[in-house]
Each structure stands twice: as structure tokens, then as C-alpha cells.
């Protein structure tokens, strides 16, 4: 298969150009990602994502993205949206999957299908305050990929490994981050 035919819909040239430009002007690489959240009722909240800061200026999208979060009925909630922890899983799976596509394009591997399932284990004795030895968060996360591509199993393993190495959400989930919460 010739290289020109590989198209995963990722503009690798643009990404490589951006990398080159930002190497020369590292201050433009400073981004701020944002979301706004409003309490509705009970455990239901509504969040929006619109602007961000990057390349030295405010960036606006043409669309405002909306996210409802709630808890399921087994927690006596109304189940009006995914739980916040499920948003974390969505974030990790979509970040790794975008990475698979980008790395595949860069390595000239044509993808036909990529699907992932992701599962996070949690002992809710932590969040319910039953056992202080149990942490609130996941005790582990498992991601399983099914990938159909013009590549050897080893090359596909390497795609998935490299995607983890370059993933922002993977880094956020696997390493500690300082969090400051204030009330204005």
C-alpha cells in the first residue's frame, strides 16, 4: 500500500508544523483549558465548554458543548446524565483513541476500525465514608482496544503504547496534580 493512500483524517503535517513553531516560540504553547459547571438539583449539574486560551490569545469555538452529570437511580438520584467518574473514563478513552489515530497517521498505518471499552473499578466504601482505608477514586482502570489496521500485531501494540506515552489524560490520571479549589 503506498504511503499517499494512508488517511486517518489526521493532519499530521499541521501538527508537525505546530510542533516546529512552538519549539521556536514556547510561550505560545501555554494553554488554559476550561469548563463551567452549574448546580441544577440534587446531584444533577450542567456543565459547558466553550472558550480556551492558547497560541497567545483567547480562542472561541462556534459551538458551546453541553454536559449533564448526575448519579444513577441506585444512588436515589434521577440519572439525568453520566456520573462524573464516567466522564473521566470518557476523557481517557477519547484521548487515547485520538492518540492512536495521530500516531498511526504519523507512522503511515491505515486504520479501518478502532474501538475501546474502558472500565474503572471502585470500592464505594471510600466515598460513603464507611472505611477510611479505601480511597475515593478508582482502584484501577482497564482499557481494551480492538484495532483493525494495515499493520502487524507488534506495530499495533506499539501504536497503543505510544499513544499512552503522549496522552494528556493518561498523564493526568496516572500522576498527581495539584488542585486548588477556592470560593469567591
Amino acid at each position: 500500500m503506498s504511503e499517499a493512500q494512508v488517511d486517518n483524517g489526521v493532519n499530521v503535517e499541521a501538527l508537525l508544523d505546530a510542533r516546529k513553531a512552538l519549539t521556536a516560540a514556547p510561550e505560545a504553547a501555554q494553554f488554559k483549558w476550561r469548563a463551567a459547571c452549574e448546580w441544577k438539583n440534587g446531584t444533577h449539574s450542567h456543565s459547558t465548554v466553550e472558550s480556551f486560551f492558547g497560541l497567545g490569545e483567547e480562542q472561541h469555538r462556534s459551538t458551546k458543548f453541553n454536559f449533564d452529570a448526575d448519579h444513577p437511580e441506585v444512588f436515589a438520584s434521577e440519572d439525568l446524565g453520566a456520573t462524573p467518574v464516567e466522564y473521566v473514563l470518557v476523557g481517557l478513552a477519547s484521548c487515547l483513541t485520538a492518540g492512536v489515530a495521530a500516531v498511526a497517521q504519523h507512522r503511515k498505518i491505515q486504520l479501518r476500525s478502532v474501538t475501546a471499552t474502558i472500565e474503572g473499578g471502585m470500592d464505594i466504601q471510600g466515598i460513603l465514608g464507611i472505611d477510611s482505608d479505601v480511597r475515593n477514586g478508582f482502584d484501577g482502570i482497564k482499557v481494551s482496544y480492538k484495532i483493525d489496521a494495515d499493520a502487524s500485531p507488534q506495530d499495533i501494540d506499539a501504536l497503543v503504547a505510544q499513544s499512552q506515552k503522549r496522552s494528556a489524560v493518561y498523564d493526568i490520571v496516572t500522576n498527581p496534580t495539584n488542585v486548588t479549589v477556592e470560593v469567591n
Binding site: D139, D157, A158, A161, Q162, Y170, T174, N175, P176
Partner: protein
């Protein structure tokens, strides 16, 4: 470089802060052996003459080897002469030392890539009562207090020190970030033999896809031991060393480890297998199949199901931390504007941006082998040619 300059009858002097082979005399731990086999240290007009070509030099043997070479080539070395600064001067450079100043038209920085141990900022948060050593301070296990040891870093240095300390009865926890696994011997031959024969070590800096990345690749997880044993993470786990993820932080006396250990090991196994695939392919092309041991693949690196993410350092008996987190060159004495914002020299294959200035001995300077003793010869031949034409021009 001195030998190549002498061949071209270019007057020069070598300034050495201590004695010949100073860093090998003063900055290495006692049991260290060279990571490359004896036969592989080939210097212009000089090579190994002993009866153990496949062995690995001890530090006294390395010191002898370099000292012998300096005598054989009559290198004009000024020992006990510390360079304090290099500055631009009329038609060249002014090199200030504690033994007087030198003026020269050209200068070669041959101080190496490993002058200063890189200790991460998180070291500031280590609780009082825990001893810390860099690999330059570490000599042998007798320095290490009884109790647990956290070795941070799993490249060649970290794995060797972890091995030695654990054997000496101080239980080791090894924090593993990016590393490159490599078998010492493959299909009956030293891995360095394969990389040399297949031309991997001769790959040029202007032929690899991403030289910045190639220069950042960590050292192969090799050790030079009498038994030519492979010292990978599986060997360490089998001895009882506990693996944890990259050290991500220390908060209230508790070390936090990244949850990325599984992927770090997967990346490393994949890299090793790609290298072995290339070796097998080369062996087939060169008719070695059938003559030598068959190809084999090693068991994947074993990682426990849920490696610990935290360690209460004092509470769990850690008495010592070893920072095997790499080294960087020291250019604090270079007062010529040739450093980038990360403090690295701006150079093209050893030709520094400032005319008449050269550098040697850095990772992948001109070839993959540039940082090896065996890489100095080819680089010196190239750079001395450039230097000579600069002087003529």
C-alpha cells in the same frame, strides 16, 4: 582528537583538571565495569591487546587504558589545570585556567555529557533522616545504612546500583520511568557486537528521522559483568527487588509513583523486540542463520497486577534514596553565547555555532556510538578535518 590533530601537525594542548582519565578515577562507583566489551574500545591507532576480548574493563583497567593511550600518542596533556572560562577573543578564544591563560584559534570541548547528576526538584521534599546519594557520590554498599533503599531510575546506572545494594542485604524498591531493555548476549554474541556489525552504531545524526529525540534516548539497560548476565527488570524482580512507577512526587513524607509502570515496560519490551527483529533480519541477510544460536524472544517484563502507587518513606523503612536520574553536561564555564534556552550547546554534529569551537563525546553527536569510547575515533577524524579546513580558511 589529539591524535588526529597531531597527524595533521596542528599545535594543540589538552587541559585536564585532574589526572588523565579523571572522571573515571573520581566519579565512578567501585564495582563498575565498562558497558562495552574490551575489543570494542578502538581508538585511532590503538586497541585492545589482552586475552579477554569479550570481557568488560574494571575502572582501574579503563584508567590504565586511557593513560596508556595518552603515553603512546604522546598527548600534550597539562594535568591539574582547571579551565575557569572560555571567552571570545581576537581571532579565536581566550581560555582562562587556574594555571594561567591560553589564547587559541580553535577550542574543542571534550568534557563529556555526564558532569552533573540531574536530581529532580522533588528531592527537596525528602524527609529528614533519609540519606541521599547521586551515582557520583555512591561508591559501594558499605556507605548505605541498614534498611530499605529507594533507587530512582532504571537505566544502566539505576539497575546496576539496585542489583548491588539489594544483594548486600538492603531491600531495594526501584522507581521505573522510561528505560530501554536489552539482553547482554543475544544468539551467543554480545549485543554490542550485533549493533556494531549491523551498522546500528554507525547510524549518522543527519540520517535519523528525529535527532533531538534520538539524543534523548536513555542508555541501554546493560551491565558489564564477569558472567555476561542480562540485568533487566525481570532479573531484578526475581532477586526480590520491588518495582514501582516513575517517582511523581513526595507529599508529607509519602512518595507517589506514576500509574504508568505497565506502559513503560510495554514500550521498553517493544523497543527491544524491534532491535532484535533488525538483528535477526541482518543475520539472515548475512548468512548467519544455522551457524549461530537460533533467534529467541524474551519473556515480557513482569509487572504485578497493582504496583504500589505510594510509599510512606519513613514508615516503610526507607533509609536511603539513590538518584539514578541521569546526568547533564556542565557548561557554566563557557562564556560564549552557544547555549539554547535549555542550556544545551547549539551544534551541528559537533561543529558548535561559534566558528572554531567544537564539541565531542555527547550522546549521538555525529553517530549513535558518539558517546562510547569506540565512537571518539570517527568523530575526531571528521571534526579534526573540519577544524583543519577552518584554520586554513
Amino acid at each position: 582528537m589529539s591524535r588526529c590533530l597531531a597527524e595533521r601537525s596542528i599545535d594543540h594542548v589538552l587541559l585536564e583538571r585532574g589526572e588523565v582519565a579523571n572522571s573515571w578515577r573520581t566519579e565512578r562507583w567501585d564495582s563498575l565495569r565498562l558497558l562495552t566489551p574490551n575489543w570494542q574500545s578502538r581508538l585511532p591507532g590503538y586497541g585492545y591487546q589482552g586475552d579477554d576480548p569479550d570481557g568488560y574493563r574494571t575502572m582501574p583497567e579503563v584508567i590504565d587504558f586511557i593513560g596508556q593511550y595518552a603515553r603512546v600518542i604522546s598527548a600534550p596533556v597539562r594535568t591539574s589545570t582547571t579551565v575557569t572560562s572560555v571567552r571570545n577573543a581576537d581571532k579565536g578564544y581566550l581560555v582562562a585556567t587556574d594555571q594561567g591563560d591560553w589564547r587559541c584559534r580553535t577550542v574543542v570541548l571534550a568534557t563529556g555529557a555526564c558532569n552533573v547528576p540531574q536530581v529532580p526538584a522533588v528531592a527537596d521534599a525528602v524527609p529528614a533522616g533519609i540519606d541521599m546519594f547521586t551515582p557520583m557520590e555512591y561508591r559501594n554498599p558499605a556507605q548505605i545504612a541498614d534498611g530499605g533503599v529507594l533507587v530512582v531510575g532504571a537505566s544502566a546506572t539505576g539497575t546496576q546500583i539496585a542489583d548491588e545494594i539489594h544483594r548486600a542485604g538492603r531491600p531495594v524498591t526501584l522507581a521505573v520511568g522510561e528505560h530501554i531493555r536489552a539482553p547482554r548476549v543475544y544468539r551467543g554474541r554480545d549485543l554490542e557486537w550485533w549493533m556494531d556489525a549491523a551498522g546500528v552504531l554507525d547510524e549518522r545524526y543527519d540520517e535519523v528521522e528525529d535527532i533531538t529525540r534520538a539524543r534523548r534516548v536513555p542508555s541501554l539497560q546493560l551491565a558489564g559483568s564477569r558472567g555476561r548476565a542480562t540485568l533487566d527488570l525481570n532479573a531484578l524482580t526475581a532477586m526480590g527487588v520491588r518495582l514501582v512507577g516513575r517517582l511523581a512526587g513526595i507529599s508529607n513524607g509519602k512518595a507517589q509513583f506514576s500509574g504508568s509502570l505497565r506502559n513503560q515496560c510495554a514500550l521498553s519490551d517493544l523497543k527491544m523486540n524491534r532491535l532484535l527483529d533488525a538483528i535477526d533480519e541482518w543475520a539472515t541477510e548475512n548468512g548467519l542463520d544455522g551457524e549461530i544460536e537460533p533467534a529467541q524472544r524474551h519473556e515480557p517484563t513482569k509487572v504485578e497486577d497493582s504496583p504500589p502507587l505510594g510509599l510512606d518513606l519513613i514508615g516503610e523503612g526507607i533509609r536511603t534514596i539513590i538518584w539514578a536520574t541521569g546526568f547533564r553536561p556542565d557548561y557554566s564555564w563557557v562564556e560564549v553565547p552557544v547555549l539554547d534556552r535549555k542550556g544545551q550547546l547549539r551544534h551541528d554534529g559537533g561543529v558548535v555555532e561559534s566558528p572554531g569551537m567544537y564539541v565531542m563525546g555527547l550522546q549521538f553527536l555525529r553517530r549513535r556510538k558518539s558517546a562510547l569510547i569506540d565512537g571518539a575515533g570517527d568523530d575526531a577524524r571528521d571534526l579534526s578535518a573540519h577544524l583543519a579546513s577552518y584554520l586554513d580558511g
